[in-house]
Homo-oligomer: 163 residues x 2
Amino acid sequence: METTLTDLSTENCPIGRTLDVIGTTWTLRVLREAFFGVRRFVDFRERLGVSSALLTERFGLLVEHGILVRTAYEEPGQRTRYEYRLTEKGRELYPVMTALREWGERHVLDDDGPPVLVRHRECGAAVGVALVCEHGHTVGVRDVEATPGPGARLRAEQPESRS
Amino acid sequence: METTLTDLSTENCPIGRTLDVIGTTWTLRVLREAFFGVRRFVDFRERLGVSSALLTERFGLLVEHGILVRTAYEEPGQRTRYEYRLTEKGRELYPVMTALREWGERHVLDDDGPPVLVRHRECGAAVGVALVCEHGHTVGVRDVEATPGPGARLRAEQPESRS
DNA sequence: CAGTATCCCAAGCGATACTG
DNA sequence: CAGTATCGCTTGGGATACTG
């Protein structure tokens, strides 16, 4: 009998793994602010309305995972400040943000339209994500085929559930 | 003085709104299973390893938001069964899933490679998401410009934080 | 099977106070 | 400013038992 997708373990699923890292309640909102250009601790805290303790903990995790970096900087004549910036690994989450934004703009937006317009700097057209294949074709959800890959693992046998 | 992005309220942010709907701990995993083709209550429960109570609650929310539909069906000679399927609105979350998957495959994958291969049915090439503008250009994160849109709202004044 | 109901523990998180 | 520490509430969610 052929192995189908639903025979596979979800344990090493890249979606689940990603959610383990960024899928907790405030983490993606913190990253959203980072993509907005927010850098300083207080600014994150005030914009998100969260406690210092929570923010400290989230920053710790994100730095640990290499998604943000904490750097000190001095403005002349000022105290030392710290800032949190996206790393390249963090910046690669932009498609996730964009996909979330597009869905939200389509389905859960107020009547007055999007609060932020995101456009291609060179031509001014709205930016979003598209499903594409490596040959450059635009792909619909229905045109996609999913099959077990090299990392596929069978999940532990259920004791043969008979209804 | 010009209004900048960081002056805006985050209250009506489409990313935040989307996360309010699907950003809770198990919800995206439930949807992942739905995209895998899982339909029946027990199958979701066994694959995710969650309790009935949790699953019931999540299904309730997702149906309420029009992301899943619950339908009864009868197999001849069998009891009535129920299944949960993605609606069109739910299927539109596929780019979100794909973006999460791609990031995970790049950054948090085991050495043995992806458990699932996702390919374009017609040409066999791997499928992912790409940032594009409406004029069809492929766009880099750095080529994007974000400005306040029609739904922009100023956030409540902070009492002028002076460091 | 597809849930509902109850009980209870643990994690998430805000509030507050304090520190370098 | 950029945190750390503590407290205590509230929610999330597992375990178990029961129902149509």
